[in-house]
Symmetry: C2
Subunit: 312 residues, 2 copies
């Protein structure tokens, strides 16, 4: 790709525990091409082991329990194209291990809980995403992940959710306001509980040059896709894009075509990725148009940033 | 002290294994005031554990076995006054541990084996010292240290010295040429083998503003102290200052007074340190004028650098 900026593109994906950061990061990395893209986890910057935090009565989400200034410094160095020796936190046993050498690639997806905590951090990103799923959905995802992939018992996950009840509003939620796009997955009314049925709602702040969606609203059918001007909860103007889980395949493909056509520079990526719906699920049953289109939309902004396009 | 520069003073102390880096660093730190001074070990930047190096057939002294670019970056950040999260190598068992947060103080003594390897590293120092003791002396020191403080058997130390025979000329010795001062401790002819009898020879390159020693040569007695113009082994002009182990207490005190008087800004430090000979040894039997005066001379340059005095 004829990249026009001389630094790595830093794409931030921030959100609470089990808000879907890993899924979104992996999907975007696939779109951008895995050899051009590396994933940088900002949750490794813990100052203390799990035992030390317990002894000190500190939450892992508390900035005081993290090397906030070092994370700022490392994001700044990555943005300049420099490698960093990053700390490594072992989520399995809560210990701090040997650091890992990390050299930024063309695109760096920086994902984690506290990535937008300070102004100095926020200044390092080209695109800032905040994941804000419906809370019932997030709790369901967290229980599923922690009991199947992280070896916790159900009661431990529930207890952990209780302990963190104050941490999320104190440390995580305030970052929502700094994102260019706030992404909310939510269950439609009367849904059967399957994630493939989820709707997605993108709150688009005017801090990025969003694609022109108007060709999609040519009057043939508006089903499954909505765009409207709205006020965010703080009263500020935003665009709200909604993609419903039951959008037709044909209409989803039209959105996909529109987005790819707006980034002709990334045509070779499209050839590699193929139909992203197919790339995302091993079989048709897993496919979710809202998820696939969300990944493509985020990838679109990363490509535009690499071309030097910025709103502000 | 009315420090006139707005960055930490980085004092480099580089030399082969057991060349006296720790002793010199500790003495200089005491002169500069331990609350103003921190010691930064550049030997922690190993890329591999001992076992991994053995498997790969790599020496710990080989730049390829070290994060050379990260060490460059961290020295640069320290020089700007920024903290770093430095790696930690455990010399006892050869493993890599959790990194350590290091915030630079007014003076940072960066000591280790490979501190002057690259131009980017060398540009970070205000004062560069290279320790180049007589090799017989260094071998004696190494055997003593490794068998008493590091728990090695004599045969292991001898084997290690053999293995490193090529590493020193390949990786360590080439750094000598970049130092402002090359310090060589050596045994005088017919010495009794005690380190308190050692002579010291300072090779003073014109890359630093050295003190004017001429008041010391007023004709009353030249015994124990010599200064002469010479050529280094590469043919380049240098001053050579020699202080003999048998220099009289009175003459050593005159040198000490001269040096302290040249840095009136550090008068309060002198009050804290007292007579450095006394500060350095628990009893009179351990005192070495050449060592004490070497420490003071290095401290002198650190103070001058803090005052913004530079030769080039």
């Amino acid at each position: 790709m004829p990249k026009r900026v001389d630094h790595p593109i830093i794409l931030g994906i921030v959100g609470d525990s089990a808000s879907g950061k890993t899924t979104l990061s992996a999907g975007v990395a696939q779109i951008l091409g895995e050899e051009h893209c590396s994933i940088f986890c900002t949750d490794d910057y813990h100052r203390y082991t799990r035992q030390e935090r317990n002894e000190a009565g500190l939450s892992a989400l508390d900035p005081r329990a993290n090397y906030v200034d070092i994370l700022e410094q490392h994001l700044r160095l990555l943005r300049r194209g420099e490698p960093v020796l990053k700390p490594v936190y072992c989520h399995t046993d809560g210990t701090l291990g040997r650091p890992r050498y990390f050299r930024p690639t063309e695109f760096v997806i920086a994902e984690g809980l506290l990535g937008y905590t300070t102004r100095a951090m926020r200044d390092c990103y080209d695109v800032k995403i905040y994941l804000d799923p419906e809370d019932d959905l997030r709790v369901k995802w967290k229980i599923h992940r922690d009991t199947t992939k992280r070896g916790y018992k159900l009661e431990d996950v529930v207890a952990s959710l209780g302990r963190r009840k104050q941490d999320s509003p104190n440390f995580i939620h305030p970052q929502r306001t700094f994102a260019d796009i706030v992404i909310r997955f939510q269950s439609p009314k009367g849904a059967n509980g399957s994630d493939t049925q989820l709707d997605v709602r993108h709150l688009l702040r005017p801090t990025l040059p969003h694609p022109d969606f108007s060709p999609l609203f040519d009057g043939t059918s508006n089903a499954g896709l909505h765009l409207e001007l709205a006020r965010d909860r703080d009263g500020k103007p935003v665009d709200v894009l909604e993609i419903n889980g039951n959008i037709s395949d044909k209409r989803a493909e039209r959105i996909e075509d529109l987005l790819w056509n707006l980034i002709p520079e990334a045509g070779h990526l499209r050839d590699e990725v193929g139909r992203i719906d197919i790339a995302n699920g091993a079989n048709g049953a897993n496919k979710s148009h809202p998820l696939a289109l969300t990944q493509l939309l985020v990838g679109y902004h990363a490509v535009k940033a690499a071309m030097g396009v910025r709103a502000y």
